[in-house]
């Protein structure tokens, strides 16, 4: 066991985020009225500092705290993505919480705590730290889901999320314990060494792989472990939904890929068969069930399930080939998915119908007449989610399907593309409702988009990402290539 003070410098971003979370939680009861806005600026400032720190850490792997945590380009990639999403979430929440009349300073504290958990997840090199990070993230998210305490729907979503989240954590932990028994360590590099020596001779190893796949399957919302997703996404405050759909999925993928590629890389052939089944089921259920949704948040929930399915195509491909281009495509896909999904949720959050959210598809009727800009942005996000060029969604799919073909699974690429064509129907239905139907209701309570400066920033960032990376993805691509180099 070695511990040096220098290690603390390397986890400075994590420490800063946790400190800021504590500061926000402590200051909240002290501050009154408008001065609570300062909590927002404290949070955003912390993120900016962390972004600078992490950006300077994009370097070769350094294992610290006797291998519990590793600082490398892979972790830095996810962390930068998570800062970005968290920043957007805070900006969106600033407007959203005002509209919802939710005045909780803790809210920002919980966002930062969840972020800290995610940061630990993506830079953990030991199953223990991965578990701790996952729990810190999940516990914060359970609370944030139930934040609208006046609304039974929100509490119900929170309870459901909690029950299934705790259940999946239990399964994950059981898998970890079996893996520990089979390999004698919880550290990923040591697990990899043992597996490289013995292969799949131990039945415990197979069990633990399956249990870990199930545990992560819940976190990633992969069919058949997706049941919580639509309910929780619908019930939670929309800003939290956006955060969950993007950040928690990204962090879970970050930890998941590290465990399965770095730790269980020797069992590639075995787990890629498992994920192939999950992937097909996810694409099927996600895209088909989304067709019949009438609530936009539920529709986007199924869409996010389906997108996890596309990312899994890349994972399966990565398991079937040498080289790291498969994993790079997954990273790229999730980064691009971030922009379009967050943008879509941001517009849903700010579409107000009187005092409540307009979250039914019907509420978008004729939006292009009442708010042309919001409708145009939603159009761009939907087109991107459907994967039509020249948007980010197309670039992501291009790389994913290219990996599948490279791994010799042309049929999987064809299947994915067929589902992409099916998904275009429900994305385009929203476009149709916005552009081709006349507004029904002309009164004051008619659904309208509440614009605010912070929302404008959020939308500008997301739409810029969708369009710019759709045309010129090179910087992001080379970053992902660099990030996955160490996962060998």
């Amino acid at each position: 066991m070695t511990f040096s003070v220098g290690d603390l410098f390397l986890i400075l971003p994590e420490l800063l985020v946790i400190t800021a979370a504590c500061v926000v939680l402590v200051l909240d009861p002290v501050l009154r009225g408008p001065s609570k806005d300062s909590l927002v600026w404290v949070s955003l400032g912390t993120l900016a500092i962390c972004m600078g720190l992490t950006a300077s850490q994009v370097s070769g792997p350094t294992a610290i705290f006797s291998g519990l945590v590793i600082i490398d380009a892979y972790g830095a990639f996810w962390k930068l993505l998570l800062y970005f999403v968290t920043g957007l979430t805070i900006l969106l929440s600033y407007s959203y919480l005002k509209e919802e009349r939710l005045y909780f300073g803790e809210y920002y504290g919980f966002i930062l705590l969840a972020l800290a958990g995610m940061m630990v997840m993506v830079s953990a090199d030991d199953l223990l730290t991965i578990y701790l990070g996952t729990e810190l993230m999940s516990l914060s998210l359970y609370v944030m889901t139930g934040l609208k305490r006046e609304e039974p729907r929100s509490l119900e979503a929170s309870a459901k999320y909690f029950v299934l989240g705790a259940f999946s954590s239990g399964i994950l932990l059981y898998g970890i314990s079996l893996l520990y028994g089979a390999t004698g360590s919880t550290r990923l590099p040591e697990i990899a060494t043992v597996i490289a020596g013995q292969g799949l001779s131990d039945p415990l190893l197979l069990f633990s792989t399956i249990l870990l796949a199930v545990g992560f399957g819940f976190k990633l919302a992969v069919v058949p472990f997706h049941m919580w997703t639509p309910d929780v996404y619908q019930g939670a405050p929309t800003s939290v939904t956006a955060f969950m759909a993007v950040a928690s999925k990204a962090a879970s993928f970050g930890a998941f890929l590290r465990v399965f590629i770095e730790g269980l890389g020797g069992l590639k052939a075995n787990w890629s068969a498992i994920f192939l089944l999950l992937c097909i089921a996810t694409l099927l259920i996600g895209n088909i069930v989304a067709l019949i949704q009438t609530n936009v948040k539920r529709m986007l929930a199924y869409s996010s399930i389906a997108h996890a399915g596309y990312a899994l195509i890349g994972v399966v491909a990565a398991g079937r080939m040498e080289g790291s281009s498969g994993i790079a495509s997954v990273l790229l896909y999730l980064a691009l998915y971030t922009f379009m999904t967050f943008g879509a949720f941001a517009i849903v959050a700010m579409l107000r119908k009187g005092n409540i959210e307009g979250e039914e598809i019907e509420d978008f009727t004729g939006l292009s007449k009442r708010h042309p800009l919001a409708a145009l942005l939603m159009l761009i996000f939907m087109v991107s989610l459907a994967g039509i060029p020249p948007t980010a969604g197309f670039v992501g799919k291009l790389y994913i399907f290219k990996s599948a073909v490279e791994a010799g699974m042309t049929w999987l690429a064809a299947l994915g593309l067929i589902f992409a064509a099916i998904s275009a129907y429900f994305y385009l239905r929203l476009v149709m409702v916005m552009y081709m139907r006349e507004p029904i209701d002309h009164s004051d309570t008619a659904p309208h988009v509440v614009m605010s400066p912070t929302l404008s920033i959020v939308l500008a960032c997301t739409v810029a990402g969708v369009v710019i990376f759709g045309v010129y993805p090179n910087p992001l691509v080379s970053f992902t290539m660099q990030a996955v180099l160490i996962l060998k």
Partner: protein
């Protein structure tokens, strides 16, 4: 005489499965919460047994963390259940039907 590690594994498997079945069939959230705790404790049995078997302290360290996290989880869980009980005066999961399961 030492007990072979497989005995512990079978015990923990039984406890774990009891927990899983409990989560799936019980309708009272408190009972579900207890079942989740059973699952976590099955894990702890595993860790301690393996730790002893492998002569490695890492497993026992893990148990400490798992216990702590479980405690935090229960705290958050009970808080949510209380809030839920206040708003709908029931903790039977079948009566929560605002959202489709």
């Amino acid at each position: 005489m030492t007990v072979p590690v497989s005995y512990y594994l079978i015990l923990s498997a039984i406890v774990f499965l009891t927990g899983v079945v409990g989560v799936l069939i019980r309708r009272n959230i408190i009972a579900i919460l207890l079942s989740v705790e059973l699952m976590l404790n099955a894990t702890n049995i595993n860790f301690v047994a393996f730790s002893d078997h492998l002569q490695d302290l890492g497993g026992q360290v893990f148990v400490f963390f798992a216990l702590t996290v479980a405690a935090a989880e229960v705290a958050v869980g009970l808080a949510i259940i209380i809030a839920l009980h206040r708003s709908s005066s029931t903790i039977n999961i079948e009566e929560f039907n605002l959202l489709k399961w």
